[in-house]
Amino acid sequence: MPMLSFLIRRLLQTIPTVLAVVALVFVLFSVVPGSIVSSMSDDADPQVELRLKKQLGLDDPVYVRFGAYIAKLATGDFGTSFRTREPVTTMIAKRAWPTLQLIFTAMAFSVLLGVPLGFIAALRPGGLVDTLAMVVAVSGLSIAKFWLGLVMMYVFALKLGWLPSFGYGDGGLKYLILPAVTLGVSPMALFARTTRAAVLEIMTADFVRTARSKGMSETRVVKWHVMRNALVIILTTVGLQFGGLMGQAVVVEKLFSWPGIGSLLVDSVLQRDLPAVQGSILVVVLAFLAINLLIDMLYGVIDPRIRYA
């Protein structure tokens, strides 16, 4: 029961978040110069432009447009793209799977590599493995994604010929590896650092010392006390990184011609296609909220002391 009420409370909390995001985008688009009408035709009759603005509702005050959009949104209608004249939900549906593929693969790569790396480094602080792991971590955090992507293309596609340098192909793994690794290197480095710091801190905690003094083997201490406690911190970082990955995916998708929501968002912003921008941002926000909700729920599984009161 406490879990259910927690879930309902968190779901209700998403409503003001979504409203705030939609309002922010509306306000931003109403103050920045440029309009979809001029990007559609640079030689349109002024009367036609006025008529088009009216038809698209762009001549209404912001609050009227905002109200109309929210009313539609409440029915699950994300509106119709000014640019392609397709329903925004259709446009997003076409792009959602490639973005999810990219983000989850990048996350899997970063967690599977970063967490063990940080863990091993923390077990022998100051040693060779620790030093090497931290060099990798700091480099991974510092390298620009665009540059890293190009280097990966150069090495693994052009020089070694192992993988294609761009494109979606059939959506298979060989097309996914380079963009996912490019996207995953930075969170991998962060996970390594976070894990190392967390493990080092927990290793000196009272309950670990107590466990050791009771004669518990080091393997059991690490497995039952250190790892479980470190996981809570790592999970929090994973949740936050999902949001970051969605933003960073824009660069990677564009570089690798990956058909995700990021490239849709960029083009929609440049062409002032407000419904498509709103839809793309909303999907990203909702996905971020959902993942963090899931992680909040996982806390209780990892650490039974955490309650959902």
């Binding site: 110069p33 440029g34 559609m40 009367q47 036609v48 004249r85 076409k94 011609s257």
Partner: protein, 528 residues
């Protein structure tokens, strides 16, 4: 004409000549790239004016005319012939009776009339309206005053009569994909945007938004033996560096090159032979607003042209990937005057002109620019110290490309830097400076000059093409003297083409727009 210009200007496709003499091979896949962004705007080519979208549309759709790069002019495509009457204002088109849409239905005059009426739908602002507007009654449809274009009349299933509003060559207006002919019955349906049907040599197979469009051979295409290839893939690749790797890795057959890559490819013996280049019909310039007091004086505008070392900017900053502008009409225009010389770099003369105009200490103006690497902020930054040396101070106002196009049309600027299409029709290009042309259309500097109007009107009425060219050259010279702009350069479009791809056309209207039915790949292509 174009072929000659290509040789003279050192253009020319540097591909192996013997390969061109081979018999075109049937089959294979052509892998083109769309370099101008991270997506296609729409699969409805009537709705989008981006050069990016026309790349795939050249495979999927067809218009009344088509651009012939070798001849440097539009030639009949869906029209078999055009009979001109009514003092040059009435065209009677005999349409092809062997053109089939990709759903197997034969094209008729009804499809053409339906398509042009659709393009003039004023509630949609289709960009092709600017071309169809030359037909009598089209503007009334656009304004919602009529339902159908009165100047279009179906004579029979394959004959259409078209009345024009003025004496122009409709070929120059009705060759782009923006005026593609759609199947009247299918295009009105909702699903058409997701699965477009056209008359082109290739039919639609798949669109992966943000990644690629795949087309395959349409066996009922009306040109015997064409297309050669089985399939065309157009991959969206907005990042030049990524295109470079993919091209070197033989994953793509064509790649548009920017200034830095142009230099690198020229220096690389393995890549030098892949370069195809052409002077496109785009003029880059700084427009000056005559409503801003200093720019109302011709001497000030001329002084700006003298004060800037344009050749230095082209060679150092644009890396030679442009031709110096010697007037408004570009190098590949039929009315280009080879005798025209550019303004020399002469700061002393610029100072003198400024002093004569009453600005011995110079003045300050605001320069609106986008971030474009070839005609945006980097160029403005290079010009600022040059103008400073003659006393002119510049305040930079940076805007997005989409905003810039609004700024120039509204006249809300003191100066702006831009790239404007100045062809292929020289008459249309110069008419932008006619006082009757609104600023919102293409008279961005709101230029008004009675002498120019007179020359252009005379050229428009002339039936003698040689005389017309002469008059247009005169108008171009007058414009050069009036200097409403800083004449910067004409774009040199550069594309790398793999040695196994043949039939590439040096299209001066846009190099990436290829008539794909003429392209073929030999057996050395990795995409067999």
């Amino acid at each position: 004409m174009f072929r000659m210009l290509a040789i003279v200007a050192g253009l020319g496709l540097a591909l192996a000549a013997p390969a061109e003499a081979q018999t075109p091979r049937k089959g294979g896949t052509i892998r083109m790239t769309a370099p101008y962004g991270s997506s296609f705007t729409s699969l409805d080519i009537h709705t989008t004016q981006r050069a990016q979208d026309e790349i795939y549309a050249k495979g999927l759709h067809r218009s009344l005319y088509i651009w012939d790069s070798a001849e440097g002019k539009p030639i009949p495509e869906l029209a078999k012939e055009a009979v001109v009457s009514g003092g040059g204002l009435v065209y009677t088109f005999k349409l092809r009776d062997d053109a089939y849409f990709h759903n197997g239905r034969k094209m008729t005059a009804d499809d053409l009339i339906w398509s042009y009426n659709r393009i003039m739908d004023g509630t949609k602002a289709y960009p092709g309206a600017r071309y169809v507007r030359i037909i009598e009654g089209a503007a009334a449809v656009e304004k919602g005053q009529a339902k159908e274009i009165s100047g279009l009349k179906k004579i029979d299933d394959f004959t259409v009569e078209m009345k024009l509003t003025e004496k122009v060559d409709p070929a120059f207006y009705l060759f782009t994909a923006l005026t593609s002919i759609y199947p009247a019955d299918e295009a009105a349906k909702d699903g058409f945007i997701q699965h477009p049907i056209g008359l082109g040599p290739f039919k639609f197979v798949e669109h992966v938004p943000g990644s690629r469009i795949v087309l395959e051979r349409w066996d009922r295409f009306y040109k015997p033996g064409k297309p050669y290839a089985d399939k065309v893939i157009v991959s969206i690749m907005g990042e030049a560096a990524a295109r470079d790797v993919a091209f070197r890795n033989k994953e793509i057959d064509t790649s548009v090159l920017g200034p830095a890559q142009y230099v690198a490819y020229q220096a690389d013996p393995n890549l030098k032979g892949t370069i195809a280049e052409v002077a496109e019909v785009f003029t880059r310039y700084m427009g000056m607003n005559p409503a801003f007091k200093p720019f109302a004086d011709k001497r000030v505008r001329q002084a700006i042209n003298y004060a800037i070392d344009t050749d230095l900017i082209i060679s150092k900053l644009v890396k030679g990937k442009a031709y110096r502008a010697t007037g408004w009409l570009p190098l590949t225009s039929t009315a280009y005057d080879k005798a025209m010389k550019p303004y020399p770099f002469d700061p002393a003369k610029a100072k003198q002109l400024l002093a004569d105009a009453g600005y011995p200490s110079g003045f300050e103006f605001e320069w609106t620019t986008s971030q474009n690497e070839s005609w945006g902020l980097p160029i403005v930054s290079a010009v600022i110290p040059m103008l400073d040396k003659v006393g002119i101070k510049v305040k930079v106002k940076q805007v997005e490309a989409a905003v810039l196009s609004e700024v120039v049309r509204s006249g809300d600027y003191q100066a702006f830097i831009y790239s404007q299409q100045t062809g292929p029709d020289p008459q249309a290009a110069l008419k932008c400076f006619h006082s009757s042309t609104p600023q919102s259309a293409c008279n961005y500097m709101n230029f008004k000059n009675a002498d120019l109007d007179k020359i252009l009107d005379e050229a428009g009425q002339s039936d003698d093409s040689a005389k017309r060219i002469q008059l247009l050259q005169k108008a171009n010279a007058l414009l050069y003297e009036e200097a409403p702009v800083w004449f910067f350069n004409y774009n040199k479009a550069v594309m790398a083409v793999q040695p196994w791809l043949h039939g590439v056309q040096l299209n001066a209207t846009e190099l990436t727009h290829q008539n794909v039915e003429d392209l073929w790949v030999d057996e050395t292509s990795p995409a067999k």
